[in-house]
Subunit: 210 residues, 2 copies
Amino acid sequence: MKSKKAKPEVDSSTEEKIKNAARTIFHKKGFAATRTRDIAEEAGINLALLNYYFRSKEKLFDIIMVESMQGFLKSVSMLLNKEDNTWEEKIEMFVSSYIDFLMGNPDLPLFVLSELRSNPSALISKMNMKELLMKSHFIKQFQEEMKKGKIAPMHPLHFLMNMVSMVIFPFIGKPIVSSIGDLKEQEFVELMQQRKKLIPHWIKMMYKVK
Amino acid sequence: MKSKKAKPEVDSSTEEKIKNAARTIFHKKGFAATRTRDIAEEAGINLALLNYYFRSKEKLFDIIMVESMQGFLKSVSMLLNKEDNTWEEKIEMFVSSYIDFLMGNPDLPLFVLSELRSNPSALISKMNMKELLMKSHFIKQFQEEMKKGKIAPMHPLHFLMNMVSMVIFPFIGKPIVSSIGDLKEQEFVELMQQRKKLIPHWIKMMYKVK
DNA sequence: GTCTATATACGGATAGAC
DNA sequence: GTCTATCCGTATATAGAC
């Protein structure tokens, strides 16, 4: 779109301001419900500038979407592929850092998952997550434990789904959860903090062979 | 909208056809991305008829939304308030019936949760889920177990979130999950069938006091 | 690069014939 | 009740001045 200057500007160049505004609003409302006017206003610039920098709403959206997917998956894959920790340690690190990440990006999971529904194969196929996750060192460790008989045998996907779901779901269901539990924002945060310790504990318990 | 006939027609009256079409498309694409023209086409009728029966897109949407919320919560609250089973039995019944329900309505959870984000307090406040769930017989049973020291003490919300998330998340994340695991539709179904037995087992394990 | 003004397209809703 | 044709608001995108 625009060539980088030799001396890069501060992070709030016009282009960055638009991207940040777009990220905020796309995450909150999704592609279809977002109006470019709202992005322009949020960014404090004029509507025409948005098209000057990004040509179209779709193009801007694609950029945000790719970055969001990367953020969504980065911490997962990074941790899962470290070779120098036990799988229990990795779970602790993953759960803790992912909850922190989601506290700063609470709208991201619902955004990614619901946009993926409208747009099934397009992006997913590009980033081959199968290799990334199913053949990761972490999954291998997990399969080792099964061989040793220390945890019950099952498809590794169950394990992955359970861990990720327990971390992510409270953020996806935040409105309902807060309503059911009658939680103020601060109380929600406290519950999430508790889960950093609780989830790894639960995971260690739940797969034990009797 | 339209007064019921004394002899009710078959289920595929025009009004029902439109509602069914609307449900399908709203669930798949959400409110903003759905065009009334698509609903009309899916229903096999003309666009004008849609407005004749439901006045506006919003009105039609509200009807679908309320029904969806009820479906989304009905099986939860029904089972949780039965008085004549142990909590372990209730978990088994809930998980099994809810997974079956979601197999027939795979798009419903993501639909409800993402529309709730745009429309926070509107509907949620109407159906007071706090009373329904937190004061349910099921939660009381759970709290009894904690008093007896049979399961570790914690906020009941953790328990609720974990159970619901393990059931729902695979459906919400189906595109990603299927991509990661390289699953065909049939394989996905098999995994879900397995979870009917696995989730109750995991839940019994994970809260045990050492 | 940034703005104002405007062209153009699209989607929801209605008028009116049958 | 159901259709065709059309209106009209809204949102994206562009032209053109500064």
